[in-house]
């Protein structure tokens, strides 16, 4: 039993109160500590990936209680991948927030940021579904604070909607857990996976209810139709670095669907056979359409990016909905890609919007460094829309390739291809309004532009955006090795008996 597994939870959990209580008046000290924490988390997640690389499922028993009785943390390839994804993204977002001064515009940014990381890493590592609820609440309560960071009228009201939406979701989660416990008598994921297939199909009514309730809860997190409506208002009103960090939050929902609905209610379980994909697939199609139309119709830049996030979640979940190892490999690749693509778009949008008067997509005079911003936005937009050469193209290609079954091909291919086209048009329209037409408008006289900052972006401010782009380039250059790792990951995910026997293995004496 290796203690490395609990470190991604313990490290931010220790740092956050220290930053919150002892460094609240010293932004420099808080920045240094927070950065050190993020770098350490990155190092830890590399260790975890190397531990998981050999294909064993590592177990961490809290209090050394054996599995169905005590709470366990489980580290397999999928959890290691997600923790790595979180820590890389967190470091970039943190660098951006510090370079642009977002963290100094309100109180406790760094403490909340560390709590957020604790919740996200915990949700990825836990092997107990009630513990998953607890970590969801931790990441949500931190995200409430981050969402309304630095305040403002519109942001407070959007934040209120976000909080109410998620509190209702948490209540549903608890109802689902109660139903699940009443029908099986356990909440350990491996134990559930062992017990639920034993329930005959005609007695599995309560289990079906629980599976659907959990599905709705995770769909709220993953912004799946018809519970996606909170996302545009939240992401477009959140501080930009926070919106970039939230790119991983929707993936927490997707991860939970992958984990719970593959391992527990997975293929071959008599009680829930065919029910999950029957709902998930059409919902994902509508989500893609909504995202594409939203991108096409958005009047402002931040909602446009938010809708492109919804579209990417649809593409991701359409591959998840097939519940096969090949499609899951594609979904995982697309998940890694879309996280960084969305983060990159939010970060570059922040650099642009902070130098314009608002984020509406109407041409005004060009900002400083128009060419640089335009180039970065162009690269990020083609990544998000799924055009070559960046990893979005490969991701969508993998998803399309995985969805060649005769019953899914027409709907899936139409939705993804038409959705991509609409997204490209939407981004092209936004880009030309923001960067191209603006060059034709003469800069105003100095007294008019005094309110708008026209300082050049420093190297430090551009560096995090460049890093996210570099990750996208690396993802397409090293697509082969990455896909090989992801293929092993999804094979391990679908090896339910391996997971069950690893978690429920009797404790070795000594």
């Amino acid at each position: 039993m290796s203690h490395w597994i609990i470190l991604p939870v313990v490290l931010p959990a220790m740092l956050a109160p220290i930053i919150g209580f002892m460094m609240r008046h010293d932004i420099v000290l808080a920045r240094v500590t927070s950065t050190v924490g993020a770098v350490l988390l990155l190092a830890i997640s590399f260790v975890l990936v190397s531990m998981a690389m050999d294909g064993t499922t590592h177990i961490y028993r809290l209090g050394d209680w054996p599995a169905p009785f005590g709470i366990v943390l489980v580290l397999d390839r999928l959890s290691a991948l997600m923790v790595l994804l979180t820590s890389v993204l967190a470091l970039m977002v943190l660098l951006h927030a510090m370079a642009t001064g977002w963290d100094d515009r309100g109180k406790h940014f760094h403490a909340l940021f560390q709590f957020q990381l604790m919740g996200i890493c915990g949700a990825f590592l836990t092997g107990d579904i009630f513990n998953l609820f607890v970590f969801f609440e931790i990441l949500l309560i931190a995200s409430y604070g981050l969402m309304i960071h630095s305040g403002g009228r519109e942001r407070m009201r959007a934040g209120l909607q976000y909080v109410v939406m998620n509190l209702a979701g948490s209540t549903l989660f608890l109802f689902a857990l109660g139903t699940l416990y009443a029908s099986t008598g356990t909440l350990n994921i491996a134990d559930l996976a062992a017990k639920i297939p034993l329930i005959p199909a005609d007695e599995a009514g309560l289990v079906r209810v629980a599976a659907m309730l959990l599905m709705i809860v995770f769909a709220v997190k993953a912004a799946l139709f018809p519970v996606q409506f909170w996302l545009p208002a939240t992401y477009s009103n959140a501080p930009a670095p926070v919106a970039a960090l939230f790119a991983i939050m929707t993936k927490v929902g997707a991860y939970a669907i992958l984990r719970v609905h593959t391992v527990v209610f997975g293929p071959g379980v008599a009680g829930t056979e065919g029910m999950i994909d029957a709902w998930l697939f059409p919902a994902a199609i509508v989500t893609i359409a909504l995202g594409a139309f939203g991108v096409l119709g958005a009047k402002r830049l931040m909602p446009l990016i938010s809708f492109s996030v919804i579209g990417s979640m649809g593409t991701l979940l359409i591959a998840v909905a097939v519940f096969s190892p090949v499609a899951t490999t594609a979904a995982l690749y697309y998940m890694v890609h879309s996280t960084f693509a969305a983060a990159c778009l939010f970060l570059i949008a922040d650099l642009v919007v902070s130098r314009r008067s608002g984020d509406s997509l109407t041409p005004t005079f060009a900002t400083v460094q128009n060419g640089l911003f335009a180039a970065i936005f162009f690269a990020a937009a083609i990544a998000m829309a799924g055009m070559p050469p960046l990893s979005g193209f490969l991701g969508k290609l993998l998803v399309l390739d995985a969805l060649r079954g005769p019953d899914v091909i027409v709907w899936a291919w139409t939705a993804i291809l038409v959705g991509s086209l609409l997204t490209i048009v939407g981004f092209a329209r936004a880009g030309s309004a923001l960067f191209w037409k603006s060059t034709a408008i003469p800069a105003p006289t100095s007294d008019m532009s005094a309110a708008i900052p026209n300082n050049n972006a420093t190297v430090l401010q551009v560096a995090p955006v460049m890093l996210t782009l570099a990750v996208l380039v690396a993802l397409s250059v090293f697509a082969g090795p990455v896909a090989a790792y992801l293929e092993q990951t999804s094979n391990q995910l679908f090896d339910r008996s391996g997971y069950i026997s690893a978690v429920l293995a009797p404790v070795a004496e000594g």
Binding site: M156, G159, L160, Y181
Partner: protein, 117 residues
């Protein structure tokens, strides 16, 4: 007793959902509180309803005891929902003070006005 507990959960949930749809902060907070009461009782009853039994397995006496796990779950859920309600009250107070309205909906006039700024 099953009827009593079940109808109590049902009534509280119905009331909570109704209040949640009122789109004013104060009813919504009350609605979420009602929903969390309902879910707490629901969780409590998910370990079966038993009267006059301790949640501890007695070493000597009869082996009848009530399931202790839902009680632990409920305790966690109560603490979390209590904390969340406090956060929600503070955020809605902040939103009310910022915008002078307790409506949860953001209507078109608001966004236009904000975009024009």
């Amino acid at each position: 007793m099953e009827l009593l507990v079940a109808s109590a959960i049902g009534t509280m949930t119905a009331g909570g959902v109704y209040l949640l749809l009122r789109l004013r902060t104060f009813p919504v907070i009350l609605g979420l509180a009602l929903l969390s009461y309902a879910v707490n009782v629901f969780l409590f009853s998910s370990g079966r309803l038993a009267i006059d039994m301790s949640p501890i397995l007695s070493k000597y006496g009869e082996a009848s005891y009530t399931d202790p796990l839902p009680q632990a779950l409920v305790l966690t859920a109560i603490v979390i929902s209590f904390g969340m309600t406090a956060v929600l009250v503070m955020i809605s107070l902040g939103a009310f003070l910022e915008s002078d309205t307790d409506s949860i909906d953001i209507d078109q006039a608001d966004t236009d006005e904000d975009a024009a700024k």
